[in-house]
Point group: C2
Chain length 275, copies 2
């Protein structure tokens, strides 16, 4: 998917919501547990109920990998279901991979060829040759970790008062690796005040923003500091939507939660003059 | 496995060799391709032929993940085979994972519970709370990326002439997360000259050293700069051993290559007065 197509979908859906399919088998409604592939059934129902409010879905791979080969089968079935039924969805593998070049090639193959993800999150620690293998696919994206939403981000990525924080170096140096048509950055909503500064370096890039909801980030602040003239934001919510209810009404409640966020997002898009 | 047990195995085998099971299905001997699980058959034969010369094996997970659910089945079978037949082998999942805390828990589960690896390589970019979930398992290890062997290491990890390179910060800060009984560091053999400096900060830790052989690092230099009084080194070779031959003699040739390295290592252990 191109950046223009993604912006087009944002305008069509009046939403820049990404739904995190962090489908922990220990948290899905017990009514599903007698199904042959409970997590797939859960994903399918959540996707069917929420897709009109979202432009993107983002399975975090850990929730699938922790179930071994079975989890990978569930993941592939989920990806196939999404592409077949909702071809305008942007599909992110939240994998945080990164290895030396010839090995990163194989991770790229896993997510872009074996499964048809549109984007993969990549950890920048090992530098350009660990990231570039993911950039060799037409209309596929790298979403590079910059400033994450967790407490540990302070250990290396960000030092208050330091001018040359690592996350700034990651963003500036990676500008020469690709452009805003193939690369996005992860910036946690819990660091919204840093978005204005980041926008000076990457005015045109999409940013993937986790951390609203359960982690305490604010949508208003994210929009205030981070929106650009083509929206430029994918804001993710996971647990706040998919695990809002664990009775048999889980999909209905997930839809209501996604609709709430979509409505807020529509308001922001109007305020910004994009609708 | 404890640090003392690992050192005991090094003395017993007169070797600190780790063999990388980077078992690319496109590179294994064609004679195996009509088997039901060719990569497993390859791993099994290589392990049977080489285990007397090695204290550790290290599958890089990308080579398995790139084959989807099938690859995960091969990986699990390989791990089970190793533990059943060679219980004194130290088994490293070269996964380079790392995510926010509750998600890293699931990666830890994948490698330490579903599969009984002794250690996982972890990327430090997201900080302490992304690493600590891996530290909660008795006698299991985190091997933290510090200074990797690839060119891209210069992008963020290491800046010549800078006093506070990121890799130094990673090593020093992570000292408070755990100790040399649960944590090791990855330092590329291509950066052997930096090992003396690193040893000032971590005199007692084991270091996992990739990059000899195909990547050009030197065993002599690694030993000169990095060996401590309990060896403190696991030196990895992958392609140079497992793909040294691709005829039906592949296992025999792999054994010969592993034996060459073991002999050199035995010499170094004697020189250091450890044997």
């Amino acid at each position: 998917m191109t950046a223009d197509e993604l912006f087009g979908n944002i305008l069509k859906k009046k939403s820049f919501l990404c739904i995190g399919l962090d489908s922990d088998i220990d948290k899905i409604p017990t009514v599903l547990l007698d199904k042959e592939d409970p997590v797939y059934e859960f994903n399918k129902a959540v996707i069917d109920a929420t897709n009109q409010y979202a432009v993107a879905y983002k399975p975090n791979i850990a929730f699938y990998e922790s179930r071994g080969a079975e989890g990978w089968i569930t993941l592939k079935r989920t990806v196939d279901y999404l592409h077949k039924n909702y071809p305008d969805i942007f599909l992110v593998a939240d994998a945080k991979r990164g290895d030396i070049g010839n090995t990163s090639n194989l991770y790229a193959k896993a997510f872009f060829e074996n499964m048809d993800f549109d984007a993969v999150t990549v950890a920048p620690y090992m530098g350009e040759d660990s990231v570039s293998p993911f950039l060799g696919y037409k209309d596929k994206w790298v979403i590079l970790l910059a400033l994450t939403s967790n407490k540990g981000a302070d250990d290396f990525q960000y030092h208050p008062g330091t001018e040359n924080s690592l996350y700034k170096l990651v963003i500036s140096k990676s500008q020469s690796w690709s452009d805003h048509n193939k690369m996005m950055y992860v910036v946690g909503a819990t660091r919204a005040e840093m978005l204005s500064e980041i926008r000076k370096t990457v005015p045109n890039h999409f940013l993937l923003i986790p951390g609203i909801g359960a982690q305490g980030g604010s949508l208003d602040e994210v929009v205030d500091h981070g929106m650009n003239d083509k929206c430029g934001l994918l804001v993710n919510s996971s647990r706040g939507i998919i695990f809002a209810d664990n009775t048999e009404k889980y999909a209905e409640v997930a839809a209501a939660k996604a609709a709430e966020l979509q409505e807020l997002m529509e308001g922001h898009l109007r305020e910004a003059g994009l609708l």
